[in-house]
C-alpha cells in the first residue's frame, strides 16, 4: 500500500540532494550498479529483506559491496538502513534513475536483434532517434537468437516488435482464433 510512496519519497530526496551538490552523474552511476547487482544476485535482496540481520551489519555489508560509491550514496545507504527502509533499495534506485532521465531529457532505448548489429548501424540509428525524439539517447543492444530474424526495439515504454518470432506469434494467434478451422 505505502511501498510506492516510500520509494518515491526517498528517491526524490536523494535526487534533490545530489542535484544540490552537483553529483547527479556519479550517484546515477551508483544507482545503476545497485540495480544491476540487485537483479543479478538474489542474495542482496535476501540480505535487505532479512529481519534478523542487525542494521549495523547491513550497513557494513552495503558499504562494503558498494565501496566505490560516492560519499552521498554511502550516506544514503546508511540512512536507509537506520530508518529500516533498506528493502526498498532496488525500487528507490529505479525511481532515482527515472528522475535523472527526466531531468537530463534522456530516453533509453534497447534493441535486440537476431544477429549482432554493426557498430555503424547502431550509431546511425542513435543519431536518427536523437533527432526524432529531440532528446539524448542511451542505447543498449544485445543479440537474441530466439528472434530468428529482425529486431525488437524498446523506447522507454514503447516497444516495436519487428522480429520473425513476433510475426510467427501473430500468425499463430490469428489461426487459433479463426472460426473456419
Amino acid at each position: 500500500m505505502n511501498s510506492n510512496t516510500i520509494s518515491v519519497r526517498y528517491a526524490r530526496a536523494l535526487f534533490a540532494s545530489a542535484k544540490e551538490q552537483n553529483v547527479l552523474d556519479s550517484v546515477r552511476k551508483d544507482m545503476d550498479t545497485i540495480l544491476a547487482v540487485s537483479t543479478e544476485s538474489p542474495e542482496l535482496g535476501k540480505l535487505l529483506n532479512s529481519p534478523v540481520t542487525k542494521p549495523s551489519v547491513k550497513i557494513k555489508a552495503l558499504t562494503g559491496v558498494f565501496s566505490d560509491s560516492h560519499m552521498l550514496t554511502k550516506r544514503f545507504l546508511e540512512l536507509l538502513t537506520t530508518n529500516k527502509r533498506e528493502s526498498w533499495l532496488p525500487l528507490i534506485a529505479r525511481n532515482f534513475i527515472s528522475f535523472y532521465k527526466k531531468e537530463k531529457n534522456i530516453v533509453s532505448v534497447s534493441i535486440s536483434s537476431a544477429i549482432p548489429m554493426p557498430e555503424s548501424m547502431q550509431s546511425q540509428l542513435k543519431s536518427k532517434l536523437k533527432a526524432d525524439l529531440k532528446s539524448e539517447v542511451e542505447m543498449e543492444s544485445d543479440t537474441d537468437e530466439s528472434l530468428i530474424g529482425g529486431f525488437v526495439i524498446t523506447i522507454e515504454n514503447q516497444m516495436l516488435d519487428a522480429s520473425v518470432k513476433g510475426q510467427l506469434k501473430k500468425i499463430r494467434y490469428e489461426f487459433l482464433n479463426s472460426k473456419s478451422i
Binding site: R94, N157, M159, Q167, K170, F175
Partner: protein
C-alpha cells in the same frame, strides 16, 4: 471434419495467411517487478487505465486493478508458470470485456467467454461487452410490471418476482437454494416455446466442477439448455476469474436486456465471490475492514445488482441509454429486462453476518430458506414469514393476485396458532378449522424438485386452498388431490385453464373449480 479434402484445407489456410497483417505496431510495455499469489506488480505502463487488459510474455492475460505512483498492480487470469521478474508486459488497449452473442446459448463457458464444453468454437456474431459497466440511469428504467414465473407455488403466490427485479435467495447449505434457481430456469421453457423467451444465465462461482456438470446435465434433460448459458468458474480457478464471473454474467444479461429481450441471471453464489474478492484485495494490500473484507465490498455487490433492470418501453429513449458499449450502438431496443437471482449462503442461519446483510439491503426482497423446514419435509423450505418481495406484487397477474391475496395472512395466522396450540388440548371449533386449513395449505405448497407448475394450475390449486375446499381431504392425500383436480380441469375445462393463464378469473370459473374440488374431495372423504 472428415468430409473436407486436404487441398481445401490448404486453400482456406492460404487465404487466411494472406489476410494476416504482420506489420509491426508500437506497443506499450512494462516490466514485471514481482509475481506471486495470482498478483503481479509491474513497473512502467504509465498510460495504462484501470480495468484494462494486459498480456504477459508467456501469453497469460491480466487485468489492471491498482494504479499507484510508481507501479501497477494486476491480477493474473491464468497460471503464473514461467513468469519471471523482468519479463515484459504489454498493454492490450481494451477494457476487460467478454464476447457475447446468441451463439452462447446452450454452452458452458468460462469467465473469459471461452467455451469449455468441448463443442467447438462459439458460432454466430459476437459483440464485445465490457465486464464492468455502469447501470442504466433513472431515465431509462421503468417499474417492474411483468411477472417472472418461477413455477414454484410458494414463490409465485406469496413472494412474486417481476422481470427486472433482484430477489435474493438466502439460506444455509443444503436447503435447496440452487434447486429454486434451477427450477426457475426450467420453468422458462414454456415462454421459450411460445416464442417469447427469457434467456437464462447461470453463473457458478467457486463450485465443484462435478456440481456444474450435474447442473448442465439436468438442464439438458429438461430441455432448458437451449435458452441457457452456464458460466463456470470452479473452485480450482484463480480468484480473479471467480470474482469476475458474475460480471461476465451481467454483461451477457445486458446484451439481451438492451436488445429488447428478457433475461434471468442467477449468481450462485455471491458469498464465494466476496471471498475471492477479499483474497485479491488483501493480496493487493488494500486495507481490510469488517470480517477482513475490503471497504468496497458493498459497492462491488451493489453495482453488480444494479445492472439488473427493466428498461423503458420506448425504443427512442432506450437508444439514448448511458454507457452503451460501442459494439451495441444502433441495436438498442426498449422493453427488455434483466432479472437477477443472487444466492447467499449463510452459516447456521446467521443473516446478520456482513455479506448477507449487505446483499439483503441491496436486493428487492429475499427468499429465506431454513434447514429446519427442509428437514421436516417442507420442500421448498421457504420460510414464508420472513421472505418478502418488495416490488413483485405489481407484476403478479390479476387472477393470482386475487386468489393468493389472503394466503400469506392465513399462513401467518396458522403459524401463530400452531405454536399456541401446542400448550393446550382443548381448542374451539374456529381455531381447529384454521389449524386444519393451514396444515393443508402447507401441504399444498410443497412441491417436488424439477416439477414447475404453470400459473393456471397454481391458481386452481391455491383457490382450493384459500377457500378451504380441502377440508375433507386427509393431509397425506393432498398430493393426490392436487393431481386429480389438475387432470380434471385439463380434461374437462380447458377453456377455463386458458383463461386463467391469461390472468382472467370470474364467477363462472370459480364455480367450476369449486364443483371439481368438491367432487374430487368426496373420493378422499373418510366417513
Amino acid at each position: 471434419m472428415s468430409g473436407i479434402k486436404p487441398s481445401e484445407v490448404s486453400k482456406i489456410l492460404k487465404q487466411q495467411l494472406e489476410g494476416i497483417k504482420t506489420e509491426s505496431q508500437l506497443e506499450e510495455v512494462g516490466t514485471v517487478l514481482q509475481v506471486g499469489d495470482g498478483i503481479a506488480r509491474i513497473y512502467g505502463l504509465q498510460n495504462v487505465q484501470a480495468n484494462e487488459m494486459i498480456e504477459f510474455q508467456n501469453g497469460v492475460k491480466g487485468i489492471v486493478l491498482n494504479l499507484e505512483e510508481d507501479n501497477v498492480g494486476a491480477v493474473l487470469l491464468g497460471p503464473a508458470v514461467g513468469l519471471r521478474e523482468g519479463d515484459s508486459v504489454k498493454r492490450l488497449r481494451k477494457i476487460s470485456s467478454i464476447r457475447v452473442g446468441k451463439g452462447l446459448l446452450g454452452r458452458v463457458i468460462n469467465t473469459l467467454g471461452e467455451p469449455i464444453d468441448g463443442k467447438g468454437p462459439v458460432e454466430g456474431e459476437l459483440l464485445e461487452m465490457p465486464l464492468e459497466r455502469k447501470a442504466p440511469g433513472v431515465l431509462y428504467r421503468q417499474p417492474v410490471n411483468e411477472p417472472l414465473q418461477t413455477g414454484i407455488k410458494a414463490i409465485d403466490s406469496m413472494i412474486p418476482i417481476g422481470r427486472g427485479q433482484r430477489e435474493l435467495i438466502i439460506g444455509d447449505r443444503q436447503t435447496g437454494k440452487t434447486a429454486i434457481a434451477i427450477d426457475t430456469i426450467i420453468n422458462q421453457k414454456e415462454a421459450f416455446e411460445r416464442g417469447k423467451p427469457v434467456y437464462c444465465i447461470y453463473v457458478a462461482i467457486g463450485q465443484k466442477g462435478s456440481t456444474i456438470a450435474n447442473i448442465a446435465k439436468t438442464l439438458e434433460r429438461y430441455g432448458a439448455m437451449q435458452y441457457t448459458i452456464i458460466i463456470s468458474s470452479t473452485a480450482a480457478e484463480p480468484a480473479a476469474l471467480q470474482f469476475y464471473a458474475p460480471m461476465a454474467g451481467a454483461a451477457i444479461g445486458e446484451f439481451f436486456r438492451d436488445t429488447g429481450n428478457h433475461a434471468l441471471v442467477v449468481y450462485d453464489d455471491l458469498s464465494k465471490q466476496a471471498v475471492s474478492y477479499r483474497e485479491v484485495s488483501l493480496l493487493l494490500r488494500r486495507p481490510p475492514g469488517r470480517e477482513a473484507y475490503p471497504g468496497d465490498i458493498f459497492y462491488l455487490h451493489s453495482r453488480l445488482l444494479e445492472r439488473a433492470a427493466k428498461i423503458i418501453a420506448s425504443d427512442q429513449i432506450a437508444s439514448q441509454m448511458n454507457d452503451i458499449p460501442e459494439s451495441l450502438k444502433g441495436r438498442v431496443k426498449g422493453g427488455g429486462s434483466l432479472t437477477a437471482l443472487p444466492i447467499i449462503e449463510t452459516q447456521d442461519g446467521d443473516v446478520s453476518a456482513y455479506i448477507p446483510t449487505n446483499v439483503i439491503s441491496i436486493t428487492d426482497g429475499q427468499i429465506f430458506l431454513e434447514s429446519g423446514l427442509f428437514n421436516s419435509g417442507v420442500r421448498p423450505a421457504i420460510n414464508v414469514g420472513i421472505s418478502v418481495s418488495r416490488v413483485g406484487g405489481n407484476a403478479q397477474i390479476k387472477a393470482m393476485k386475487k386468489v393468493a391475496g389472503t394466503l400469506k395472512i392465513d399462513m401467518a395466522q396458522y403459524r401463530a396458532l400452531e405454536a399456541f396450540s401446542k400448550f393446550g388440548s382443548d381448542l374451539d371449533a374456529f381455531t381447529k378449522q384454521t389449524l386444519e386449513k393451514g396444515a393443508r395449505n402447507v401441504e399444498l405448497l410443497k412441491q417436488n424438485q424439477f416439477a414447475p407448475v404453470t400459473v393456471a394450475h397454481q391458481i386452481v390449486l391455491l383457490y382450493c386452498g384459500t377457500k378451504g375446499l380441502l377440508k375433507d381431504v386427509p393431509l397425506t392425500k393432498v398430493v393426490d388431490f392436487e393431481q386429480q383436480v389438475i387432470d380434471y380441469m385439463e380434461l374437462k375445462h380447458k377453456a377455463a385453464v386458458d383463461s386463467l393463464s391469461q390472468g382472467k378469473i370470474d364467477g363462472e370459473i370459480e364455480k367450476i373449480i369449486e364443483s371439481i374440488a368438491s367432487e374430487v374431495g368426496k373420493r378422499f372423504k373418510i366417513n
